[in-house]
Symmetry: C2
Subunit: 388 residues, 2 copies
C-alpha cells in the first residue's frame, strides 16, 4: 500500500551500522596490512579496544565471527583429559558444549531453562564437588533469550581456583552491561564486531588475563589459526599472524573513536534505558516478558500473545514497516520475538518500532490501544530526563 | 542525558539521502565526463528524468542549485523591455521578483499573504488587462509556507497566450504532487536534486516545452552558463556545455532507478499520505495548521502554540532527538515549523518524529496527551491500509 518503506534493523546483531565508520573504511581504499600505516591503525585500534573493554588485559583481534574466539578460548586453555564447567541457559550456552565435544573435552554443565539465568550457586557447588576444571564457560548475556547472567558472582568464585580460567562470551554483553573484567576476574572475555561496536560482522575479540596466559602456556589442545600466544606476540607490534580484515579494522577504529567520545558508560546506559523502556512498553501492550528475572540490556525478549506465532509479528513488521526484529531461536521460534538495544540505537528508534508493533498486533487480531506503548516509552524517557 | 542521539532530517531539502545512490556515486571512483561511459550514464539519466517529470519535453540538467535554473528561465525567455507576471505567496515567490530586478525586467505581481495560495483568477485578470507578458512565473509548491498553488488552472489560462511561457518552480512540487506538464501546458518546470529525488544538493533540472523553445529562440537577455539552447544541443549527445557534476549525476541515475521501480505515482502518494497524517497528528495535539486552504504534500507547516517560539521547538527536537525540522522563513521565523514529506521518508519516520514532538511540547510547558499524535498517524495509516 505504502510507497516508501525503509529498512531498519532491530536485531541483536547485525546492528545498525555507524555510517561514519563505514565511510572511513571505504575512504581508506586499497590497504596493505604489512605497512607502517596499517600497523599504526592496528596499535591504535587495540588501545581503543582496551578502553571499550575497560581492562588492562591484552585484547586480541581475529578475523572471524565471535564463535572463532570461543573456539580459541577452549583450544588455548585446555589439554586433553582436562575438563570444562559450562553454565548454559540458551542456544549460545549450548555452543560451549559443541566446542567441548569437538575437542574431545569432558564437560560438566549447569543448565537453566530458557528465559532464566544460569544458577551461579549451582556452578559454585559443581566447582567444589566435581573439579578440577581448567575452564569455566558462560555467557554474560544469553542473546537467544535476552537473559543476563551474574558473571560478577561467578568471577568471585572462580578467583579461588588458581588453575581455572573463567571464560565469558560477552559478544552481546560488551557495551550493554557493566563488566569489570579486571576487578571481577573475567579471564577471557569474547566480543564481536557486529554488536555494540556498530560495524559489520567479521571480527572477534578476546581479552586475556595474566592468569589465563599462565594456563595457556601449559595447554596442549591443537590450535593454529586461533593461537592466542602467537597473536599476542604479533599484535604487540601492530601485526597479525595471518591476514587481518583490514577494512573492518579501520571501521572498528572509527567506531571506537565514536564510542570513546560518547563514553563507554553512556553506551551502556543507552542500552539500559532502551531495554527498560522496551520492557515497560511491551507490558503496556499486555505482552509478557520472556526473561522476567534477569533481563539483559542487549535485547528484550517478548512472548507472542496466545494464538499468535511470533514469526507472523516478525514478518508483518518487516513487510509493513521495514523493521527487522528477531524471532526466537531453537525451541523458542514462534513463541518469542526479540528487539535489540545494543549499539547504535536511540530512543527515537523505539518510538518508531513500538508504534509499528501496535499496528502489527492490531492487524493480527489483538486488542491494542493505539499509542499506548509509545506513551510508555515516552514516560520512561521523561523519567530519566528528569528536570532536563 | 541520553547516550546515543542519531541525526534525522525532516527538512524540505536537504532530505534523507538514498544511501544506495550515494554508494553508487562513491563506487564509481574517478570519472571523466568526456568519455563514452559517462555519456551513456548521462543519456540514461536524462531518460529517467523524463520519466520522473512525466513529460515528453526536453529535460536539462545543470550543475547548480535550483535557483540557477530559475535564473536560466528568466534569462532564456525574455528580452529587454519585455515583462513578467509573477504569482507569489512566500519567500520563493519573491525570488522571481529578485530575478526580474537583477535582469532589469519589469514585473507585475499577484501576491497572496503567507499561508495562502496564489489567486489564479487574479493572475488571469492581470494577463488580460496588463499584458503582454513574456513569462508567467509561479511555484507549484511554495516551500516556505507549505502551500500548493493551482498550476493546472494557471496552465489553462496561459495556454491562450501563444507568446507567453508558463514557468513553474516545482523544486519541491516534483515527486510530491500530480503535475501533468504536457497536458496542463507547464512550459518550463524546474527541479532540484536535494528534494524528492533523494540525493545531495548541486543539480538543477528544467523541462522545456516546444512553445518555450520557440520563445527562447527570440530572447535577447544575456546568458552564458544557463544557456538552455546550448545545453539542449549538448545533452542530446550525452554531453554538457560545461563540466557536469559527475558524482551527483551518477547518484541521480541510481536514485531515479529506485523511483522508477517504486513508481513515480507511489512516490507522490507516499508524500500525500505523510502530509495527511501530519496534518491530522498536528491537529490532534491542538496545533493549528499554517496552510489551511491548500496544503502541499511536500511539507506541513504548523503554527507554534501561543507563547512558544517555533525556534525552541526546532532546537529541542534537534538536541533531544536529533530530529532536524525547519523553522519558518523570513517573517514566519519563530511562528511556524515545517515537517517535510518529500522524497525518502516513510510512515515509521512519522511515528518517531511525532512521539519526539510530543515530548518537546510537554517540555516547553504545553499540555500534551502522550501518544495522541502518534495514534493519529497510526489511524491514518490504518485507514489507507484498509483491509490490507
Amino acid at each position: 500500500m505504502l510507497g516508501i518503506v525503509k529498512e531498519r534493523l532491530f536485531t541483536p546483531g547485525p546492528t545498525p551500522l555507524l555510517l561514519e565508520a563505514q565511510a572511513r573504511a571505504l575512504a581508506a581504499g586499497n590497504v596493505h596490512h604489512r605497512t607502517e600505516a596499517f600497523r599504526k591503525v592496528m596499535v591504535e585500534t587495540l588501545a581503543l579496544l582496551k578502553y571499550y573493554y575497560d581492562t588492562r588485559n591484552d585484547v586480541l583481534i581475529f578475523a572471524s565471527s565471535g564463535t572463532g574466539a570461543m573456539e580459541g578460548s577452549v583450544a588455548n586453555l585446555l589439554s586433553p583429559g582436562e575438563r570444562m564447567l559450562i553454565g548454559t541457559a540458551g542456544k549460545f550456552g549450548e555452543r560451549w558444549l559443541g566446542l567441548a565435544k569437538a575437542f574431545g573435552i569432558e564437560a560438566v554443565t549447569v543448565e537453566s531453562p530458557y528465559g532464566q539465568p544460569v544458577n551461579i550457586d549451582a556452578m559454585k557447588q559443581k566447582l567444589a564437588s566435581d573439579g578440577p576444571f581448567r575452564a569455566v564457560c558462560i555467557q554474560a548475556t544469553e542473546t537467544s533469550t535476552a537473559v543476563m547472567n551474574d558473571v560478577r558472582a561467578l568471577g568471585e568464585v572462580v578467583k579461588n581456583y588458581p588453575e581455572t580460567a573463567l571464560v565469558v562470551d560477552a559478544i552481546t554483553g560488551l557495551g550493554t552491561s557493566d563488566l569489570r573484567i579486571d576487578e571481577w576476574g573475567l579471564d577471557i572475555v569474547i566480543g564481536g564486531s557486529q554488536k555494540a561496536v556498530m560495524i559489520p560482522p567479521g571480527l572477534a575479540f578476546a581479552s586475556v588475563s595474566e592468569k589465563a596466559w599462565g594456563l595457556i602456556a601449559k595447554s596442549k589442545l591443537p590450535r593454529f589459526y586461533f593461537d592466542f600466544a602467537k597473536e599476542r606476540k604479533n599484535q604487540a607490534k601492530g601485526e597479525t599472524a595471518y591476514t587481518p580484515a583490514t577494512t573492518l579494522i579501520i571501521a572498528l577504529n572509527a567506531a571506537l573513536e565514536y564510542i570513546k567520545k560518547l563514553g563507554r558508560e553512556n553506551l551502556i546506559a543507552n542500552a539500559a534505558l532502551l531495554a527498560e523502556a522496551s520492557r515497560v512498553a511491551a507490558q503496556a501492550l499486555g505482552l509478557k516478558l520472556f526473561a522476567e528475572s534477569s533481563p539483559a540490556n542487549a535485547a528484550t525478549a517478548v512472548c507472542a500473545p496466545a494464538g499468535v506465532d511470533s514469526g507472523a509479528i516478525v514478518k508483518e513488521l518487516r513487510t509493513r514497516f521495514g523493521a527487522i526484529i528477531a524471532n526466537g531461536q531453537g525451541s523458542m521460534k514462534g513463541q518469542i520475538f526479540r528487539l535489540a538495544h545494543l549499539g547504535y540505537y536511540d530512543i527515537t528508534d523505539l518510538f518508531a518500532v513500538f508504534a509499528a508493533l501496535e499496528i502489527v498486533l492490531l492487524k493480527l487480531g489483538q486488542k491494542v490501544e493505539l499509542g499506548s506503548s509509545v506513551r510508555a516509552v515516552q514516560e520512561v524517557y521523561l523519567r530519566h530526563a528528569g528536570g532536563q
